[in-house]
């Protein structure tokens, strides 16, 4: 027990928060820095996460121009997968593709166009993305939302193996794979 009256001030000096106080000797489990004043950073990536079957994927938000509720498409005779059909988007004929086929998650495309077309599942959406050849649609099972991440949070794949995979984002809810939408259409 320390008895002199000055010691309460000494105690408070240890009690109070200082950004430069010592942290040595603490268990080091995770990079857990106090973030310096986080401006909504220009360098932050904004990702639109969506689901294909059970898997979660994401594309850069900037490439997506709109999200439509999935609707029956107009069939294209002799269309080859992954082309599902076309969509008249306010006068612009927009092809819609199935990314699940490109990613090897499905072997047969869903019937989304033509007379024996099934009614699309309630959660299904069409992501309209900008490409070098005009707008194109991606038929996805569901859209989860927009996530803002720092580029460093993205685990990049080893070079040379990438294909259209830009990186993998690990979060507590599970991982999602960030893909290049143009690669999904190729």
């Amino acid at each position: 027990m320390i008895a002199d009256p000055g010691s309460v001030e000494a105690l408070l000096a240890r009690f109070r928060y200082r950004p430069d106080e010592e942290t040595a000797g603490m268990v080091d489990l995770a990079a857990s820095p106090v973030e310096p004043e986080r401006r909504p950073g220009a360098e932050d990536l904004q990702l639109l996460t969506f689901g294909l079957g059970a898997a979660e994927y994401a594309v850069a938000l900037g490439t997506v121009t709109e999200i439509l509720r999935a609707r029956p498409l107009t069939e294209v005779p002799r269309a080859r997968p992954p082309l599902l059909g076309v969509l008249n988007l306010r006068g612009v004929i927009t092809p819609v593709y199935d990314p699940a086929l490109r990613l090897g998650l499905a072997t047969a495309p869903p019937v989304c166009a033509g007379p024996d077309c099934e009614r699309p599942p309630r959660a299904a959406r069409i992501l309209v993305v900008r490409t070098g050849l005009g707008p194109a649609g991606l038929w996805v099972s569901r859209v989860r939302g927009v996530q803002r991440v720092r580029p460093a949070a993205l685990e990049r794949p080893a070079s040379g193996l990438t294909g259209g995979v830009i990186g993998v984002l690990q979060t507590v809810e599970g991982g999602c794979t960030v893909v290049d939408p143009e690669w999904l259409l190729r």
Partner: protein, 136 residues
Amino acid sequence: MSADGSGVDVCAFWVGDAVYGIDVARVDEVLPRVVPLPVADAPEYIEGVVHVHGTAVPIVDLRRLLPAGSPPRSAKPKVILARIGRRRVGLRVDAMAGVRRYTVAEIRPGGAAKGVLGVTSDDCRLLDLHGLLANR
């Protein structure tokens, strides 16, 4: 931190049957429901890590570090995200007890347990987080 330096604002919380406090300036936020991801080979007082706005933060179970009796019956466990220097930790507590202001005269130095800097007149134990967590 108080403006005149003669007192202190304390974020108080329950751990077991005692009230502890840390400087409110350390507290970033209080999270109600947190499910940490377990970490292999972590010390037993670390529950795991959670992702908070893009950074991983270790969660420390204060109930395993402080002499804890049984918590108040109305306990609502929370995680306090606190700063220690340039690092952050999450502190698992049994319940929040509000923000309290103490003058220097209300604080007695010393405390029985490791990491306790002093005790206030209403029996709130002021914690030294670095002293509590370092070199375990």
